[in-house]
């Protein structure tokens, strides 16, 4: 008997920290010390708040550094960090720190730049609430059918949050398709997708197409 895939959904609330930065040095120091929930918030917020637009500014750090602080080259470097390569928030945080440190070494004058009062970077934590839904898939056909109608919050949870925040090493769909269905080829195709370059609706369509094309469906 195959273990069924139980769909969950995830709603989120923003928790304020009172931590703010008005210079690059302050930003760097805070990135080193804030909780992983802050790193997660500022690298994933746009995915849900502006879900219908693509391409999206991929993270808040890049946006603030480029558009508020006025360091366009560093902003571009931060924006191009390939989030899908990092298996944990810890490793993603280390990469962001490394990019800012290297930039400051090469451009020491950037450390003296500051923003006006009111334009500071405010650190926010993402608090997730994960609810089981009534949707359960026993095979790939049922999985595709449910993916067509489930909320984008559910897709978001199983694709983004599970892999990076819960450190499962892969998205939930690929894990189930490989372990419960035994279709490693399909699981690998889904793993290779870079979900950060899709809108959530486009990601839904792509997942459904890949699953429906599988010989096991």
């Amino acid at each position: 008997m195959t273990e069924p895939f139980r769909f969950c959904t995830r709603l989120h609330l923003s928790e304020l920290t009172g931590v703010r930065a008005s210079t690059l040095s302050e930003l760097l120091e805070a990135i080193r010390t804030v909780s992983g929930a802050c790193i997660y918030h500022h690298t994933h917020r746009f995915l849900q708040q502006h879900q219908y637009l693509s391409p999206e500014p991929p993270n808040d750090f890049a946006y603030w550094v480029e558009n508020v602080l006025g360091e366009a080259r560093l902003g571009e470097k931060l924006a191009s960090i390939d989030v899908i390569q990092y298996p944990s928030l810890r490793s993603l945080r280390e990469k962001i720190i490394q990019v800012i440190e290297e930039y400051l070494q090469k451009n020491p004058s950037a450390a003296r730049r500051f923003v006006d009062p009111g334009a500071e970077f405010h650190f926010i934590k993402s608090i997730s609430f994960v609810f089981p839904t009534s949707y359960v898939a026993n095979d790939l056909k049922e999985l595709a059918d449910i993916l067509k109608k489930i909320t984008i919050d559910s897709i978001y949870y199983h694709v983004f949050e599970s892999r990076l925040r819960l450190e499962k090493g892969n998205n939930d769909l690929s894990l189930w398709i490989e372990n419960a269905i035994g279709d490693k080829s399909l699981a690998d195709r889904i793993t290779r997708l870079d979900p950060y370059t899709f809108t959530l609706e486009d990601l839904r369509k792509r997942l459904v197409t890949l699953i429906e094309r599988s010989k096991h469906t």
Binding site: T9, L11, H12, L13, S14, E15, L16, T17, G18, V19, S35, G36, A37, Q49, H50, Q51, Y52, P117, G118, E120, H122, I124, K125, S126, I127, S128, F129, V130, F131, P132, T133, T151, I152, D153, R165, L166
Partner: protein
């Protein structure tokens, strides 16, 4: 009043399903909201909508209002201005008046419920009635640069709450309690925001003697210095030199705002300079506000400080181009040059108004973008969802909560 299912055509089935999913986990809890006025102002408006919806979701919810005389509300108005960073002479006598009224409310107002939800500074002192239940303080004010004497006075109360809620990230301070970001919202089905037939709009214009053959610039706000109605007239007079248009300043007064009568008189005097300036002192009449917004060519919100600025959301929801100050929660609602124009001065406001009056296609595009942004982020259903999650967070301190 809208039932939850009535919102499905506007926000989609999934959003309503999520509300029911979260509410299910709060079954059996009782919630008590407390604020200082049942009518007038954004807080009362939101509670009037929110409380019935929480009840429909199966959560036992009550709403109580504290009492206070003119003296108390004069002091809380001073507090309000001082928290917004305005220079105010706050004396020990003011703090004594505040504490006297607080003690009276502690004695007379019954607090009950698993979660007591206190709105704004006026009822903040009720926290001394806290037992083993959960207490939340919701600050609707821009406290990014507060008067420190007032802020320190309030901190003695704030630190006793379980959680605090602010409307914008810049309002947060380092506090020993959890603090959450929850923006307020508008109700798309309320009298103030629902679609209106053209006849209704025309009849409201007729009632106030406004001829809509000229472009209309409107600011809807209480007559309050922080809304800068005098600055709006100054900006309008600059625009009027180049574009033949008219200005409507419309608003009412609230029982907890004694200063508004004085401001109204000043504005009325200044408006004598031009017969195209219409000053409308309105009793609470949401249909008329709705009609005036819909009849407008451009909406302005030139506040000096703003807790959030719900009139901006109302205008954007009606697809109107908006010129607004970049203060408080307004930048959350308007991305500059994408869903409206943000300004910092009278001159800037005048320039932005001229741009929009002279470029109707651009103005229309800003309005369309603004409407979608409000649909996704600032409608009552999102606000309700955030409150449900806030209530759940009181029992779950972790960053990822599994049910």
């Amino acid at each position: 009043m809208g039932k939850l299912d009535d919102y499905i055509p506007i926000v989609g089935q999934a959003v309503i399903d999520d509300l029911r999913l979260a509410a299910e986990k709060l079954k059996g809890k009782t919630i008590q909201h407390v604020n200082s006025t049942a009518v007038g102002g954004g807080v009362a408006e939101i509670l009037n909508r929110m409380v019935p919806m929480l009840v429909e979701l199966g959560i036992d919810t009550k709403w109580d209002v504290i009492h206070g005389g003119m003296e108390f509300f004069s002091v809380t108005k001073k507090f309000h201005n001082a928290l917004h960073g305005k220079q105010e002479d706050i004396t020990q006598h003011d703090f004594d008046i505040f504490m006297d009224a607080t003690r009276a409310n502690i004695n007379n107002l019954e607090t009950r419920g698993d979660i007591v939800f206190i709105h704004d500074p006026q009822p903040i002192g009720l926290i001394s009635k806290k037992t083993d239940n959960k207490w939340v303080w919701r600050c609707h004010i821009d406290v990014s640069n507060p008067n420190l004497a007032v802020w320190r006075f309030l901190r003695d109360f704030i630190d006793k709450y379980d959680s605090v809620v602010f409307s914008a990230p810049s309002f947060s301070q380092k506090l020993p309690v959890r603090q959450f970001l929850i923006a307020p919202s508008i109700d798309p089905l309320s009298d103030k925001n629902k679609d209106l037939p053209q006849e209704t709009i025309n009849s409201v214009l007729n009632k106030y003697g406004i001829d809509n053959s000229k472009p209309i610039i409107t600011q809807i706000s209480r007559f309050d210095r922080l809304k800068d109605p005098v600055g709006v007239i100054d900006a309008f007079l600059m625009v009027k030199k180049h574009v033949d248009c008219q200005l409507i300043l419309a608003g009412g007064t609230a029982v907890d705002d004694p200063e508004s009568v004085e401001v109204f008189a000043e504005v009325k005097e200044k408006a004598k300079q031009d017969s195209d300036i219409h000053i409308l002192l309105m009793a609470q009449n949401d249909i008329e506000v709705n009609a005036l917004q819909r009849a407008s060519t451009v909406i302005i919100q030139k506040s000096l400080k703003e807790g959030f600025g719900l009139t901006v959301s109302e205008a954007l929801w009606k697809g109107k181009p908006v010129v607004a100050s970049a203060v408080g929660g307004i930048p959350l609602q308007i991305a500059h040059k994408y869903s409206g124009l943000l300004v910092h001065s009278v001159e800037g406001a005048a320039f932005a108004l001229k741009q929009l009056l002279n470029a109707p296609d651009y103005a229309r595009k800003l309005g369309e973008n603004g409407r979608e942004h409000i649909r996704n982020n600032f409608l009552l259903t999102r606000h309700l969802r955030d409150y449900l999650l806030l209530f759940l967070s009181l029992y779950h301190p972790e960053n990822v909560v599994f049910f």
